[in-house]
């Protein structure tokens, strides 16, 4: 390699590393600070704590209104599980119909589905709230989980349609000749081959549900039903003041662990999800 190229590449590496460090510094600082005594969080911008304590985790874990974070984490996981099952079932069914079946009105409904993809959710917000309230669902997880069973996250329908279209059609045809019905083709041929896209769907459903705050704020009214993100908000007072910073940072650190673990263990599914649908962020 020419000397100039080496210099250029080294400088590029240096720049990318420095900027990258700067970017994740706040997150690293949050993790480290969650182990610092409350009085030091304010005075110490460094990454190496002068004293280490678990006190923040103990005070933070106590939670809100007598309900501990154990409950909040369990609630979040339960809600995510429900949302994932819902999206997997309903979105894969719709995607199979759009990608593989011929029916009257297919192009029309597909265009409708693509339109809902761009639709800002706020325009359905108030009526949905009124509707769920009429059902007596406000205060439960149903307003958040039931819509997932009705494929309201059009992103995933689109993602799965794209994926199923890329599968060879010959397999379906062979199975049909062997006497498989449409349900059989769906369950035995298409679904097993769609697993990578289903993992992407499950992954992003988890992250969105875990990180979602707006719906949790609207529909979860009792502290016993709070999720982690809804509970974190209780650290911030109404005027924006925070009394227990240590506890807030400690619980925030715990709250980002699931996303981290999933991200590092399932990276390639992330890339697929982001590049096909431009998913969020």
């Amino acid at each position: 390699m020419k000397a100039r190229t080496i210099v250029r590449l080294t400088l590029t590496h240096l720049f990318i590393i420095t900027l990258g460090l700067g970017m994740i510094y706040p997150v690293l600082w949050m993790i480290v600070s969650s182990f610092k005594p409350n009085s030091m969080i304010f005075s110490d911008p460094g990454l190496i704590p002068k004293a280490v304590t678990l006190e923040n985790y103990i005070t933070g874990w106590k939670g809100y209104a007598g309900v501990s974070f154990e409950r909040f984490f369990a609630n979040s996981l339960l809600m995510c599980a429900g949302a994932i099952v819902g999206n997997l079932v309903s979105c894969s069914m719709a995607a199979y119909a759009f990608a593989r079946l011929k029916f009257t009105g297919r192009n029309f409904w597909f265009a409708v589905m693509m339109t809902t993809l761009m639709l800002p959710g706020h325009v359905t917000l108030v009526p949905r709230y009124i509707l769920f309230n009429t059902f007596g669902w406000v205060g439960s997880y149903r307003p958040i989980i039931v819509p997932r069973f009705l494929a309201t996250d059009a992103f995933f329908v689109f993602l799965l349609v794209q994926f199923i279209r890329s599968l060879p059609k010959e397999l379906d045809e062979a199975a049909t000749i062997d006497g498989c019905g449409k349900l059989g083709v769906f369950l035995r041929i298409v679904l097993p081959l769609t697993v990578p896209a289903l993992v992407t769907t499950a992954l992003f459903t988890f992250l969105w549900t875990w990180d979602d705050f707006f719906n949790h704020l609207l529909y979860l009214t009792e502290p016993e039903t709070f999720t982690v993100s809804r509970a974190l908000r209780t650290f911030v007072g109404d005027a924006g003041a925070v009394s227990n910073w240590g506890g807030a940072l400690a619980m925030s650190t715990l709250a980002i662990i699931p996303s981290f673990v999933l991200f590092f263990s399932l990276q390639r599914y992330f890339i697929q999800g982001i590049t096909t649908t431009g998913i969020k962020g």
Partner: protein, 322 residues
């Protein structure tokens, strides 16, 4: 030959498909189409969630409430005969949101493109870098990070500790100063350029290397190559990122809600549109008004998206590159 009646033939041909489509169709009608129509109607009423029976048709009242101050009207008579007061904060929330969208989206896309270009050189460790740069995006929308952001930009927060260490004095509390509060939210958004960067990177990798080789044989320098090869061939991806990020940015909520502690912050400097909508609808129970606000948001996003698409044939090329 036996001939089936039309309806039976239709069912036979379509029944299976519509069964697979049933959950989505049900969701579309019950949770999208019906609510859209309902909220359009609510927007012309004074619907209050706590006393639905007292709902009255007020014509354009809610819309006058939003835009009355533009024409210097702070009071007006609705078609129900009731005297209504204009919303003194609506236009503020609109300007906060526009400022946020029109600064954060271009900044974010510029940073994302610059980093993607850097990583598109045959560099070692690109997948590792890509991972690191995606972390803020992975976490950025969460309440946890919004809480952290508050801490970073407080008067005695991390940012001021650094700035103080390199000699700055008289530093403001960025979150509590109405001049800077929105800036911290723009920064929070730009910080999450990871997914745009990944999309750009995937787009750049589609551009055939031969184009650049041919261009440099013809004597085009790097800058010319960037403007005459990279940008045109990447333009569909830029359009895609631009539209998606714009739609997201208009709907930003969590960050502003947490940083303002459930309010629009000091002097409503971070009163995002959706936050104002939430406060109107759920704090004040003005759900008719909130519905009207939602429809205006839909129109704004729709019109801007249409403008972007319409003007896109001036700068987006769908040439033979893809």
């Amino acid at each position: 030959m036996h001939k089936m009646p039309g309806i039976v033939r239709f069912l036979k041909r379509n029944a299976a498909a519509y069964m697979f489509l049933a959950p989505w169709l049900l969701g579309f009608f019950v949770l999208t189409l019906y609510p859209m129509g309902y909220s359009l109607w609510l927007g012309f009423t004074d619907y209050d969630f706590t006393k639905p029976d007292a709902t009255r048709w007020i014509g354009l009242g809610n819309y006058l409430k939003m835009f009355g101050p533009l024409f210097g009207q702070s009071e007006f008579t609705a078609s129900s005969g009731e005297v209504m007061r204009a919303d003194p904060y609506y236009l503020k929330s609109l300007s906060v949101t526009f400022t946020y969208v029109f600064t954060s989206v271009p900044l974010k896309l510029t940073v994302a493109l610059a980093l993607a270009l850097m990583m598109n050189q045959r560099l070692r460790g690109v997948s590792f870098y890509r991972t690191v740069y995606y972390i803020p995006t992975l976490l950025g929308g969460s309440v946890a990070i919004a809480v952290l952001w508050r801490k970073l930009f407080e008067k005695n927060g991390l940012v001021n500790a650094f700035l103080g260490a390199i000699g700055f004095t008289n530093l403001p509390g960025w979150i509590t100063n109405p001049k800077y509060a929105l800036g911290t939210l723009v920064l929070l958004s730009v910080w999450q350029f990871g997914s745009s960067m990944i999309i750009f990177l995937a787009g750049l990798q589609q551009i055939p290397q031969e184009y650049y080789e041919a261009a440099s044989v013809d004597g085009a320098n790097k800058i010319r190559q960037f403007f005459f090869i990279t940008i045109p061939l990447l333009s569909p991806v830029i359009l895609f990122n631009l539209v998606m990020q714009m739609i997201y940015a208009f709907q930003a909520f969590t960050q502003a809600y947490i940083i303002g502690g459930g309010t629009g912050g000091v002097l409503n400097s971070t009163l995002f549109y959706t936050l104002h909508l939430y406060i109107q609808g759920w704090t004040y129970h003005e759900m008719g008004y909130a519905s009207a606000m939602a429809w205006v948001l839909l129109l704004i996003i729709g019109v801007l998206t249409a403008i972007v698409f319409r003007t896109s044939n001036l700068w987006v090329s769908y040439g033979s590159g893809e």
